[in-house]
């Protein structure tokens, strides 16, 4: 399975990347790197590019379902998370979770969802060396 995932990522990265202008932030690669790092038992759902070179906050949304456990992890080019923070906000923008807890950065959030709805997955930077990263979302029942 890991080999298959590697092959997929490898072919995808090169298939899509060829011919594109080299960017300062290769968030595509970092997002792909995050996929095999999802904890055992989680099925991949999405990968997210986090290119903060032009803006301070990158946001995506996703419908989370009650009874399902989700995991969002982070990958950065420097230190483990390099100041990259992911937060989950509900539809009313109440903060549900963050990867920065009491000043400590962690590289993943496990979110057993208890309320179905649209959630915002928000990426911000806290004193990073580069405003660049990737992330993956997985689920398990």
């Amino acid at each position: 399975m890991k080999k298959i995932i590697f092959l997929i990522l490898f072919s995808s990265a090169f298939g899509v990347g060829a011919g594109e202008i080299v960017q300062q932030c290769n968030s595509d690669n970092l997002a792909n790197e995050c996929i095999p790092k999802l904890s055992e038992g989680f099925n991949f759902l999405k990968s997210y590019k986090v290119d903060g070179t032009a803006k301070d906050r990158i946001e995506y949304s996703y419908v989370f379902m009650k009874g399902t456990q989700y995991m969002i992890n982070l990958c950065a080019s420097g230190a483990v998370t390099d100041g990259l923070v992911v937060s989950i906000l509900d539809k009313d923008r109440n903060k549900i979770a963050s990867s920065k807890i009491n000043g400590q950065f962690v590289s993943a959030i496990a979110f057993p969802c208890n309320a179905s709805g649209i959630y915002y997955i928000q990426y911000t930077f806290d004193d990073p060396s580069s405003h660049c990263g990737g992330s993956a979302l997985g689920f398990k029942r």
């Binding site: 949304s61 509900d90 029942r141």
Partner: protein
Amino acid sequence: MRIFIIGVLTAFFVSCTSEKKPDDQEFLKSLESTEEKTGIDEDVINAILDQIPSPLEISVLLKESGSKYNGALLNQSDNLPKYNNNYKKALNLGVYGTDLGYTNIYGQNQDGIKYISTIKSLADELNIGQFFDIETIGRLATNSKNLDSLLLITTLNFNHINHYLQSQGRDNLSVLLLTGGWLEAMQITCQVAAKKPSKELFEKIGEQKIILEQILLLFSFYKDDTNMAGLLKDLELLKAAYEKVSINYTYKESSMEIVNGVAVIKDNSTTTIDITEQNVEEIRTITNSIRIRIIS
């Protein structure tokens, strides 16, 4: 439910393995249902498409709830010749994608194999066949242990296909792929719930109100597309049925603890879903009639 699209998503696999270029005639044909370039903001469409769960998610739920595999619930692969315009082709590519994912989750390889060639045919006819690596699809779809890879490949491929379709002003087809996949998952879930009613399944069906609202939002951008306007009318009937279902959200601050370097959240917010057996039956009936029109 994006174990759904996403699902549609099930059908979409590894990136370009052939450099097949659509000829001019094929290309013009492919635009038949587009009518005119939409000029719709790609970012807006992508943001909505992106948040819709894969249909495979609900198939996993069905299996885990103890529901037995039932191939009779799926669209038959020999219906393929009926799909003679791009509108039908795109919708049914989504339908078959969900069906393939369903067979995969239940390890029903013999049934799954039938869908692989059907999916490839439809993709070729829509000029997106270059995004399908039939060997990889076959390998993953016939091994239920490969669900994770299947999801990965379908998601990546849907993104590539969506991007390609948007570049051609055919983004309506992305929406149809997704809608076909979602409706098929809805249909399977509703049929299972009718046979073996459970609170959990009823709630799953009720929760789909959230997804339907997003799909309707997507369709609102394509009111000038005759085919999509027709389907929108059908979906509005479903919306009317869902108006009797209420989803009540209560926010309560969550708590967190760090376990092995992972922030583990205790979600204290809740949703309650008020849905009756009658509501489910009405939703099932409407979903089934829409789906029959799509696959016929």
